[in-house]
Amino acid sequence: MAYQLYRNTTLGNSLQESLDELIQTQQITPQLALQVLLQFDKAINTALANRVRNRVNFKGSLNTYRFCDNVWTFVLNDVEFREVTDLVKVDKVKIVACDGKNTGNAAE
């Protein structure tokens, strides 16, 4: 099973909201919605691994760090994200990272 990590993204959240709407109007069952989400997990993991090919650098100051259940969570302040084409600055960013060595775990 792929990571369920990407459900809390724009793409994932909009999918979940849409599924919730359909459940509310009883057009689909919650079970089916769950299946869709699992399928989404697979698709997004595959897409990210295969279809994306860009690099980003970032620099900032570390506010907090946490390592629990093999998941790193960082909060950085005053960060600059730099890509070849562009620069993005944010005052605060939260980074959630799952173990990238093996995608065998489904982190909930």
């Binding site: 990590l5 909201e17 069952t29 869709v36 989404f40 980003v56 790193w72 939260k94 959630v96």
Partner: protein, 370 residues
């Protein structure tokens, strides 16, 4: 400049959506769910993506797919009228609202609906459902009736459809729910049952999100109005329900429907409103500060905190980026390294949401000091 970053996104997201939809099609059929529900899911999904403004809008391929589907159903229905066709032509030139992407979808759906010979109300209803946001405009339906799309100040949009001879077919199961918490959005199609209504406001559709910025929280409100021959009465009912929804959701609404202002009962810890008590503090100083705490200018507990907080306030929260989004990066880590207080991050396969926009990376390397 940032547009360049966003360019790969739509294609990537498109392909992900396509993959997911295609793969769940089987699941849907196994469950006995209609293909149309699948299409609705896809449309809802894409609309929300567009609304978030993190990605671009519709692909032309999908518009073509919609057209193809519409034409197929038109052949099946065999009720294409000349009026429908001429008024389909009328639609595109009238759409001059800013959101062009949404507009483009409208004629396809209207075309679809009118081609099957359904009534204007159904057309309007179906129009309201998939698009989510209707631009501020007037649309002419297949039967020549004018739909007025009104956009309230808060962002909710009402579609008021004057109807006089309508037999509506509901395509979405209507459900009355006063809503609660962050309830999912339910789009309700309400239909006046019979024709000959003297009053014009027959159908009021409130399909969208209610954005309450009082607490800097975006909440999806589900507001539904009841369908009945009494139009204006229902508007009041609907507004009351809206109020209830909002009150339930955040408690932020002071009873006035859908205001984006902060409710008056919010205490102001900083800013211009506190100068009076601060002046008193400075003048009186020493022990009299305690007296002021006992006086309490009507702001409970705030006077105590003021002398302490006024120095600490770096106004970081206020000066945070324009958007309320907490910038999040979701990814996987290859290696996390630390030397004393110097951290190095090697990340991969991530999706970032920064300042409200989405970015993607296959690799990210970072440095930070703790």
């Amino acid at each position: 400049m940032s547009n360049q970053l966003n360019l790969p996104q739509p294609k990537l997201y498109r392909s992900v959506i396509e993959d997911v939809i295609n793969e769940v099609r089987e699941l849907f059929l196994d469950e006995g769910v209609d293909e149309q529900v699948l299409m609705e899911l896809k449309t809802l999904w894409e609309n929300k993506l567009m609304q978030s403004k993190a990605v671009e809008g519709f692909n032309t391929e999908e518009q073509a797919a919609l057209q193809a589907a519409a034409q197929q159903q038109a052949q099946q229905a065999q009720q294409a009228t000349q009026q429908a066709q001429t008024q389909q032509v009328l639609l595109p030139p009238q759409q001059q609202a800013p959101q062009q992407q949404v507009i483009v979808q409208d004629p396809k759906i209207l075309q679809h609906m009118s081609a099957t010979g359904m009534n204007a109300a159904t057309t309007a209803a179906t129009l309201a459902l998939p698009t989510g946001i209707s631009p501020y405009q007037q649309l002419i339906t297949s039967q020549g009736q004018i739909l007025q799309v009104l956009r309230a100040a808060n962002g909710t949009q009402y579609i008021i459809q004057p109807q006089q001879q309508m037999v509506l077919q509901q395509q979405v199961l209507p459900q009355m729910q006063p809503g609660g918490g962050q309830a999912p959005v339910i789009q309700q199609v309400l239909a006046p049952l019979q024709g000959g209504l003297p009053q014009q406001t027959g159908v009021i559709i409130q399909p969208q999100q209610v954005i309450l910025t009082g607490n800097n929280v975006q909440q999806n409100a589900q507001v539904q109005g009841g369908a009945a021959p009494g139009g204006p009465q229902q508007q009041q009912q609907i507004q009351q329900q809206v109020q209830q929804v909002q009150q339930v959701q955040g408690g932020a609404a002071p009873g006035v429907p859908q205001q984006q202002q902060q409710p008056p009962m919010m205490l102001q810890v900083d800013g211009a409103g506190d100068t009076s008590s601060e002046d008193e503090d400075e003048e009186e100083e020493y022990d009299e500060e305690e007296d002021e705490e006992k006086e309490k200018d009507g702001e409970d507990g705030q006077v105590e905190e003021e002398p302490l907080n006024s120095e600490d306030d770096v106004s970081d929260e206020e000066d945070q980026e324009l958007f309320d989004t907490e910038n999040v990066v979701v990814c996987q880590y290859d290696k996390i390294h630390r030397s004393k207080n110097k951290w190095k991050f090697h990340l991969k396969d991530g999706i970032m949401n920064l300042n409200g926009r989405d970015y993607v990376f296959s690799k990210a390397i970072g440095d930070a000091e703790w």
